[in-house]
């Protein structure tokens, strides 16, 4: 039995499945520019994605790499660096791999393409990220307040938000 197959068995992978580093290699070959794979292990890989490449990469991952499921979408606010990040965790049940994609956005205009048309599960995650961080997801079917009541004018998870009694 080959070494790769042993490792595949260790994480319980089906014979046709691919490990995380194989998937990362495929992505590196397919997207030489715009996508930087920072780390790849057996069941995870981490990538830094340009804003414009996100939808193409997501399409490729969905169509050719069996990523079926968006586990979470979240935001990070970097006040000093004047940028915002959106972090996607996308999972493949077939390959047992979770991919973490990070997209950098300028803080004064945080806009990124929505992946809800590809994976419906991202709908409320993106809505909540907009609700809390004010990151606009272009193409989202219903970008409205989710946890805060309608008419809230602040984005509470931003670092320059001053907490205090409001209600």
């Amino acid at each position: 039995m080959s070494e790769v197959r042993k490792m595949q068995q260790r994480i319980g992978l089906a014979p046709g499945g691919k490990t995380g580093d194989v998937l990362a290699q495929e992505i590196i070959q397919r997207f030489p520019q715009g996508v930087t794979v920072t780390k790849a292990t057996l069941n995870r890989f981490y990538a830094q994605v340009d804003k414009g490449m996100l939808l193409k990469l997501a399409n490729f991952m969905k169509e050719h790499q069996d990523f079926e499921h968006v586990t979470s979408v979240g935001g990070v606010d970097w006040l000093a660096e004047k940028k915002m990040q959106v972090v996607y965790h996308i999972t493949s049940y077939a390959n047992k791999v979770t991919a973490e994609l990070v997209v950098d956005l300028p803080r004064d205009k945080p806009e990124v393409d929505s992946i809800t048309p590809l994976w419906g599960g991202a709908n409320w995650h993106e809505r909540e990220t907009w609700d809390m961080f004010g990151i606009v997801f272009i193409g989202h079917p219903k970008l409205e307040r989710l946890l805060n009541p309608d008419g809230t004018e602040v984005f509470p998870f931003r670092k320059d938000f001053v907490s205090g009694r409001r209600v």
């Binding site: 009541p149 009694r165 209600v167």
Partner: protein, 187 residues
Amino acid sequence: MDLRLAPNAIGMTSVEFMAWSTDLMEQLAKYTGIKKAVDKLTAPIWSWAIRNATVPLHFGIACCALEMAAASGPRFDAERLGMIYRSSPRQTEVLLVNGWVTAKLRPDLRRLYEQMAEPRWVVAMGECAISGGPWYDSHNTVQGVDTMMPVDVYIPGCPPRPEAMIDGFMKLHIKITKEMKGTFLDE
């Protein structure tokens, strides 16, 4: 009451006659002391009946709802004191607010309170319902349920034990007994 209308009673419509005679009866009962006497006799019965059926609304918001569930379990058995949970606000008399109230929940909770029939009481259970608790400076938490409705009993604790909750209801019983509300001929 206008007794001068008595000769015209035969010519009244039924609605007019009912209004006139009802008014006559009520004012008679009120000014001759009948209402006072009947209230004195029946008020203890009413208050006994009311305090034995302090039915709380089954509306668990946060972790205090677990204490509420424990209180209705076999160990504490709050049901023997009349605390049987009902799911419809029309059937309940006590609004037991057990947990933080977010800004999004506030209109719905106020609506539940308004849907309950009189006589009704509000019990604020736990720090969150009393003053906001750990979320005292939160952007999205109502700082105490008494900012939006009158509260009768506060049960402190985070969360209060089931005994504390039952004790709060005993305080409510004392309050109901003290009020001793007579309702003879009241709307």
